[in-house]
């Protein structure tokens, strides 16, 4: 469902971020993206989100060549992708419920659907009792679960998580991983960039390692493979 064919990305001033990437990710996979900082993980994620355009090669998503997608259509493509950030990125002046509902409002969902969908997803991430709380009343783990709820509220086929456990203590991190695993088991593809060695090693999922702009390793049941 996601395919990179000889994808390369060169920034201005001839800075090569990615070169000759060939990757195929199937529907429902759980993929860890590992590698040192500055190796090209961020660029890889930016290409997936269409924040940047590939300078060579071809990117196919859901059977559709999206390499040269027009700016107009980028918003529509993004609706099939959910994003989770290390710093949560919740709106501080909105409640948990409103933060999640917001993602539906801006794609102009029906009020009826919003009222039905939001409590359901909050239940899925275990936050039913926190719906009326504001972000500053939540713990880090809870905030990240809100952002997970937001990322899946519009039923995307892919969720991209950029170091979702980076700001959390180990216990909370595992709590988040359980939620992500649960979402993955419902059929959503998950691509997670991370530096968390323990998590990668224990989860035994596919690991793609990027270094100096190329894929140096792609194992079905991989390990982190770096010393912290």
């Amino acid at each position: 469902m996601i395919e990179f064919q000889n994808v390369g990305k060169t920034y201005r001033h001839e800075v090569v971020a990615l070169k000759d990437i060939n990757i195929k990710i199937d529907k429902g996979e759980f993929v860890f993206l590992v590698g040192p900082s500055g190796a090209g993980k961020s660029t890889f994620i930016k290409l997936l989100l269409h924040e940047e355009k590939a300078t060579s090669g071809k990117i196919i998503m859901n059977d559709q060549d999206i390499t040269g997608v027009s700016n107009r259509n980028i918003p529509l493509l993004r609706r099939s992708i959910g994003v989770i950030f290390q710093d949560f990125r919740l709106l501080p002046n909105k409640t948990v419920y409103e933060n999640v509902a917001f993602a539906m409002e801006i794609v102009e969902a029906k009020s009826r659907d919003i009222r039905r969908q939001v409590p359901m997803v909050l239940g899925l991430v275990g936050l039913s009792d926190k719906a009326k709380k504001y972000p500053n009343e939540l713990s880090g783990g809870e905030m990240q679960r809100v952002s997970i709820a937001r990322s899946i509220i519009n039923n995307p086929s892919i969720v991209i998580a950029d170091e979702p456990t980076g700001n959390l203590d180990p216990d909370t991190a595992w709590e988040i991983m359980r939620v992500l695993r649960h979402i993955n088991q419902r059929g959503t593809t998950i691509i997670m960039a991370t530096h968390a060695k323990d998590i990668v090693d224990i989860m035994e999922q596919r690991v793609i390692a990027i270094e100096k702009g190329t894929v140096i390793r792609d194992d079905k049941k991989g390990v982190y493979g770096y010393e912290d």
């Binding site: 924040e51 918003p75 493509l77 993004r78 990125r89 801006i106 794609v107």
Partner: protein, 298 residues
């Protein structure tokens, strides 16, 4: 766009206006100021054009004053001579008594002042109507050659001058308005930028979730529109009352004599309100679009 979405846009626009009130007031002030200058210029120009226009329609004829003490048959023969000139449609005779009567009428309430005159100082005259205004120069020239003609009252110079002055005012005015308009656009774009920064995080999230650019833009465009619109309404109000005041002043000083050449306040309001509103909103929208040009790129 759904009605619910539109409600959201308008609400966000107002939230933006309210959240940085200080800058909003500055923006509205700058729009008002530039439109006020426009108001001064436009009322001048409209009045000058009006006078010129009235002049032209009123003076598609000229008055040919005759020398005093002409015999009746001499007057008649001048009449036939005038009619025979090429370009003249027809002529009308106005005796000095008629002229005085006319003057009394146009002076209205003050007409009684003319009753005290012992002798009628007005000359007999012919009113010569042109077939077409363009030919007036030659016609006038020919008329001046007829003996018994004392003076030709001819207004073309005045009209031309008026049009020239109106053009000049219009040109300098446009220049001034362009500069003031740019300043207004600049201030509005800065105002919007503040709202934009306050909502930066929100916008980032909106983009990642797949909001279209216009969905993000609309609230800011609406904010700019309102800044411009409110500025325009202020300017309109001020111009209207100031103009009405000036109009009444002229009316009181110069009586009805002059007033008929001046556009009344209500008619003026009709002429300028659409222009002001469109310009105000235009400046506002332009300001907000400029401020968003960079911010919307992801």
């Amino acid at each position: 766009m759904k009605i619910k979405t539109m409600g959201y846009m308008v609400k966000q626009g107002f939230v933006g206006l309210w959240r940085n009130r200080g800058m909003s007031i500055a923006s509205i002030g700058s729009v008002t100021a530039s439109l006020l200058v426009l108001g001064v210029i436009i009322t001048l120009v409209i009045n000058m054009n009006n006078i010129a226009l009235m002049g032209q329609s009123q003076f598609d004829n000229i008055q040919v004053y005759l020398e005093e003490e002409l015999e009746n048959d001499e007057i008649d023969s001048i009449g036939t001579e005038l009619e025979s000139i090429e370009g003249v449609a027809y002529v009308e005779y106005e005796s000095q008594d008629d002229a005085l009567e006319k003057m009394k009428e146009s002076w209205g309430e003050q007409g009684y002042l003319l009753d005290t005159l012992e002798n009628n100082p007005l000359p007999n005259s012919y009113i010569v109507y042109f077939e077409e205004l363009e030919a007036s120069q030659t016609v006038v020239h020919n008329i001046q050659g007829i003996s018994g003609v004392d003076e030709v009252r001819y207004y073309q110079d005045v009209i031309d001058n008026l049009i020239n002055i109106a053009d000049f005012v219009q040109l300098t005015g446009l220049f001034l308005i362009a500069i003031l308009g740019l300043i207004a656009v600049f201030i509005i774009s800065n105002t919007i930028k503040i709202t934009l920064n306050a909502r930066k995080q929100e916008i980032t999230i909106m983009k990642y979730v797949g909001a279209t650019n216009w969905f993000i833009r609309w609230p800011f465009v609406i904010e700019g529109m309102f800044l411009g619109l409110i500025g325009a309404l202020f300017a309109l109000t001020i111009v209207y009352f100031a103009y009405e005041y000036a109009y009444n002043l002229v009316y009181a000083r110069f009586y009805a004599l002059f007033a008929e050449y001046i556009v009344p306040a209500d008619a003026m309001l009709q002429q300028i309100s659409l222009m002001f509103v469109v310009l105000g909103i235009g400046v506002g929208v332009l300001g907000s679009l400029i401020s968003m040009r960079k911010h919307l790129k992801v």
